[in-house]
Amino acid sequence: MNGLAEILIMLLMLTNFRLLGSSRLPACISTVAFQAVLLGAITLTTAGWRLSPWVIILTASTLAVKGVLLPALLRKAVRDVGISREIQPFVGFGTSVLLGAVLLSVCFIISRPFLDSAASEQSRMLIPGAMFTIMSGMFIIITRKKALTQVLGYLAMENGIYAFGTSLAVEAPFLVEIGMLLDVFVAVFVMGIVIYRINQEFDHMDTHKLTELRD
């Protein structure tokens, strides 16, 4: 079980690099969805003896929302606005990956003091993994221009927070998670509408053009 959980956590880390390095929006959406699936699997493998029906139901519902529902919504948004690529971000994709490697190193370094407070032996490595997911989500929000990519960054960040909760304790985060899930759902829903409207009004969905609206 130990090896499997570690490989899943490793995959979680690597998905972030795909998110950082890919310019295709559909690929990024699938990556975020895959992250959610991975998180579900990680929860189940690291829960061990604490595995209860309650945990399984919660995991399944999280999976359904973040792995299926939200990605479907985002794919629809991509189809509707007809844009499938992030073009000319503030930081290039190759550089993003390299900076991602730096971020990962930083995450490994700053998570050292927390390692002993992990819930179980298996979820030790989840702490840097979760931190890295949060950080790369933030990185994407900061450096990308398209509203849709920023939503993806937001989702990745949320995945990271969830993973962080999982790494520290198994049951407690679910209460938080349910509330957050609701928030995210509403937020993505609203953003989807906003993206659609931005696109309709301005024929593009670049957020940096919004600066033209200031005084």
Binding site: G3, I7, M10, L14, A101, F108, R112, R124
Partner: protein, 298 residues
């Protein structure tokens, strides 16, 4: 010890067979029967019967480049463990010697290409050295991760210890697979069978080699493929048998399995655009770095 010698001997004899296996796998995916398994040998024998033609501008550099192409990988075999079968020569730091011996061969090959004064060969040489510079970083980081995981600084020590399958070995194996593809000019990186000079990397560097020289180069690249296959399969298919003979057999099976994997990749993937190759190789470096950080933190 006897097993190590048998490994070197087998590698020297059967390295071209790997190419045959890859060709058969590709033919299978293409729905063809394909050429005989021993076709690479027939090609080499045919080349050995020919005379020699050298370019007007070429000097002794060109003439020794093909010699190095065959002699370098053959010398490297002495440092190469096959699974848990140790190398003939193993000492602290042999992994670095391996990387730099490959670099020495590349140095002579690149100079041989530039010796012809051909624009195409210069172009190929330029691509080759850039990709090599990037893959060297990935290679070194991967070796560092493996050394950290196994607690040893010699290849034989590393491959003796890496008998379990964890995240570090998954990541290192991926890096080694990318390196295998890029160093041996396999498909997502370079197409060994392309016929357009402008799109070639490695093949264009040997445009002016013919006859015995070309045979030496082909034999050398077969040996190089063997080296990388052994490095990859030792991590990817860890097997700890009861005796070294069993390990030797398992290692050989692993090498040929790697050839099959390579063939499958070549049949199912398209070439990556030349401009994106550095991205792929830096991704390999990032992967190796992740493996390393993971290892020192656990």
């Amino acid at each position: 010890m006897i097993q190590s010698m048998v490994h070197v001997l087998l590698a020297l004899i059967s390295a071209p067979l790997l190419q045959g296996v890859i060709n058969r796998v590709k033919a299978f995916f293409g729905g063809r029967r394909g050429q005989p398994l021993l076709q690479p040998y027939f090609d080499m024998i045919r080349l050995l019967r020919k005379g020699a033609v050298y370019g007007n501008t070429t000097t002794w550099i060109f003439r020794i480049s093909s010699l190095a192409a065959a002699a370098g990988p053959a010398a490297i075999l002495a440092l190469l463990p096959l699974g848990r079968v140790p190398a003939m020569l193993s000492f602290n730091g042999d992994m670095i010697v391996l990387v730099y011996m490959l670099a020495a061969v590349r140095f002579l090959m690149v100079l041989g290409a530039m010796d012809t004064g051909s624009s195409f060969e210069g172009m190929g040489a330029s691509r080759e050295v850039l990709l090599a510079a990037l893959s060297e970083v990935a290679f070194m980081l991967c070796l560092a991760a493996l050394a950290a995981a196994a607690g040893s600084f010699s290849l034989s020590g590393v491959y003796r210890e890496m008998d379990t399958f964890g995240p570090v070995s998954v990541m290192s194996a991926t890096v080694l697979l990318i390196l295998l593809l890029s160093e041996n000019c396999r498909i997502p990186v370079d197409d060994p069978r392309t016929h357009l000079e402008l799109t070639m990397i490695h093949e264009v560097m040997v445009l002016d080699h013919c006859g015995i020289d070309l045979c030496l180069i082909q034999y050398g690249s077969a040996l190089k493929l063997w080296v990388f296959s052994a490095l990859f399969s030792g991590i990817c298919f860890p097997f700890a048998g009861r005796s070294l003979w069993a390990d030797l057999l398992a290692g050989l099976a692993g090498v040929f399995a790697t050839a099959v994997v390579t063939g499958v990749i070549e049949s199912t993937m398209a070439r990556i655009r030349m401009k994106r190759l550095p991205e792929m190789l830096s991704l390999a470096s990032v992967l190796a770095l992740t493996a390393f950080l993971w290892e020192i933190l656990v």
